[in-house]
């Protein structure tokens, strides 16, 4: 039991990650896939943030009178995650922009309907690449 409770932050990460992965695999709506992707990314962010926590540690700000005897949390994983959050936002924005273009082309954002319209996963090269000339 202590294995479950003592490592609860890892369980949160694993559960979130699998939920995200499941949504990406099982849902047909492209917007829901993007949401699944976000949950997937957030799980890793949670992992890093909980990694930086030191039991009894305080915020890593140098107090007046020196840092003698003060226990700090590790700030580095948190700083790394600022970058990862920015990457996540950029990815989401780009994904949604692509969804808008897909909707314009097919009139739907359901993956199965798109595949039906595009003629399955195999392709007819002619129709797909035609009109590439300038």
């Amino acid at each position: 039991m202590s294995e479950v409770l003592g490592l609860w932050n890892y369980w949160v990460v694993i559960v979130l990650m699998m939920i995200g992965l499941y949504i990406m695999i099982a849902r047909d709506s492209l917007v829901k896939k993007v949401m699944g992707l976000n949950i997937f990314q957030v799980s890793v962010i949670m992992f890093y943030v909980s990694m930086g926590k030191v039991r009894g540690g305080t915020a890593p700000i140098l107090p007046e009178g020196g840092a003698e005897g003060v226990l700090f949390s590790n700030p580095l994983p948190h700083v790394l995650m600022l970058t990862a959050i920015v990457v996540g936002i950029a990815t989401t924005a780009l994904a949604l922009a692509l969804v808008v273009r897909i909707k314009e082309a097919y009139g739907t954002i359901e993956e199965d309907e798109i595949h039906a319209l595009a003629g399955g996963d195999g392709m007819d090269g002619r129709s797909a690449v035609q009109g590439e000339a300038e």
Binding site: T91, L94, A105
Partner: protein
């Protein structure tokens, strides 16, 4: 200037990208990005020269003057320098392909954004190659990936955004798994610097966390590298992207990811741990053999030239992975040489397809009929590139396969050596299909009438020149192997830890 070569290699394209966005006209943006690509090529060449002058073959640069492992370190040895030269060289040649964003669905007046995305992808790829910091690899990986998703989405036709979207989902999963792997490494060692990881990892190697980290890193990079069976995104992405983008990404993106995998396995974890303790080769060797055959077989049955080349890429990644899993200096040399050689031939072949789509309006196999007479130079490029894919002597493909077979024989893997030769025969089949259509079939009379297009002429010089620079170099580097094999064997020796 010389002291800052490493950082300039990344900063120049990274800073040039937003500047490019401000340029008013398409020719200006195009000339600007070509100039930037040639500058990075010059810098890469200088780095290679500077590396030859050093004693141990390593150049390190402390970013912002913070000493590693606290600051980010840029670190280049023979393997990086080799990749830098390849990536910047391909970018310099491919960008010259006129009229630039050919085949991309870019609105008039927005062409500067196309070149901005190309420069960002270039900056990201060069950044991955030059850095010595594991988290930094993730950041540059996402920079280059985001730029390439948007470039692929620019392809004409309705299916390009869908291909880009699937690639985005797959690629981000790969990137996130990589990030998780890096996090586990940091948790166990307290460092992100690759050289520092090498010294600190042996103490904790026998923990399950480290094995998990290795698995996550290999799968994460494997998705971006399109290792079989993680290659599902590649055929769609390459066949629906604009041809110039396909040429650029096929020749650089997977190659840089191969370098990252080599760096993870050989520098960070060490070949002994990965292949002797964990026996990753039991998994990777069969997968690379399946890729060699599966990719080639799938290529034979494609109805579109671009898609045929994309599936052939899956097979060629198999050859590179095979060189890596043999885990010997010769095997690694073969893998790295094939990285360079395959970049030249696939870049050249995709540019040749770009010539065809620009003139004919399609890259469907049926439209190749009788094209040998109407576009002799383009079809000749297809033939030479195809011969290189097969591995005919005096082309680069032969050099790669020669070393690969040698590496297999070194370890008494006769069956593997035989399979390499056998899979080359499959390449003969799909290349022959193209040759037959180009030279030995007559164009469909009805087809010409229906499309009502003016008769197809040879591609203009602005398209033929970059195509033939790449195709020509597949012959040049097939005859003189000093640069490719020389540098690759130095890199392999360094990675295997036997010193240059």
């Amino acid at each position: 200037m010389n002291a800052h070569l490493l950082v300039l290699e990344v900063v120049v394209p990274l800073m040039a990208a937003p500047l490019c966005m401000l340029l008013p006209s398409k020719p200006a943006a195009r000339m600007f990005s070509i100039a930037v690509a040639w500058i990075t090529l010059y810098l890469a060449w200088s780095i290679l020269g500077a590396l030859g002058a050093t004693e141990h073959g390593v150049i390190a640069y402390e970013l912002g003057g913070f000493p590693p492992p606290f600051g980010i370190e840029l670190r280049v040895d023979w393997a990086n320098a080799y990749l830098l030269l390849l990536v910047s060289g391909i970018a310099a040649v491919v960008l010259m392909f006129g009229p630039g964003s050919a085949g991309a669905a870019v609105a008039e007046g927005r062409h500067a954004f196309f070149y901005t995305a190309v420069l960002l992808a270039l900056a990201g790829l060069l950044g991955i190659t030059v850095t010595g910091d594991a988290f930094n690899v993730f950041v540059f990986l996402e920079v280059s990936s985001l730029a390439s998703y948007s470039l692929i989405g620019l392809g004409r036709g309705a299916r390009a955004p869908m291909a880009a979207f699937s690639y985005l989902i797959m690629g981000t999963i790969g990137g996130t798994l990589f990030l998780l792997g890096v996090g586990l490494l940091y948790q166990m060692t307290g460092t992100l610097n690759m050289a520092d990881l090498t010294t600190r990892l042996p103490d904790v190697l026998d923990t399950r966390t480290i094995v998990l980290a290795l698995a996550l890193l290999i799968v994460g990079v494997g998705i971006k590298l399109a290792v079989y069976p993680l290659h599902q995104w590649l055929p769609n992405a390459y066949s629906f992207a604009p041809s110039v983008v396909s040429a650029f990404l096929a020749a650089t993106s997977t190659k840089v990811m191969y370098y990252v995998l080599v760096r993870i396995i050989f520098t960070i974890f060490g070949a002994a741990f990965v292949f002797e303790t964990l026996h990753a080769d039991y998994l990777l060797l069969p997968l690379s053999l399946i890729a060699m055959f599966g990719g080639s077989l799938a290529a034979i049955y494609q109805h579109d030239l671009k898609r045929l080349l994309a599936y052939s890429s899956v097979a060629q990644v198999g050859y590179m992975m095979l060189g890596l899993t043999l885990a010997s200096a010769t095997g690694l040399t073969a893998g790295l040489v094939h990285v360079f050689n395959h970049a030249l031939m696939k870049g050249g072949l995709f540019l040749a397809v770009g010539c065809i789509t620009a003139q004919v309006g399609s890259s469907a196999m049926g439209d190749l009929r009788g094209l040998g007479k109407r576009m002799p130079f383009t079809c000749a490029a297809l033939v030479v590139g195809g011969l290189a894919l097969i591995g005919v002597p005096s082309t680069v493909g032969f050099v790669s396969k020669w070393y690969l077979v040698q590496a297999a024989l070194e370890q008494d893997l006769l069956s593997v050596a035989a399979l390499i030769l056998l899979s080359s025969l499959l390449a003969v089949v799909y290349v022959w299909r193209v040759v037959e259509l180009c030279y030995f079939s007559e164009p469909d009379a009805t087809q010409v009438e229906v499309t009502g297009r003016p008769p197809v002429r040879e591609a203009p010089l602005g398209q033929l020149l970059p195509t033939w620079i790449l195709i020509g170099s597949t012959i040049i580097f097939g005859l003189t192997t000093d640069l490719t094999v020389g540098t690759a064997s130095k890199a392999a020796a360094q990675l295997m830890g036997v010193g240059p």
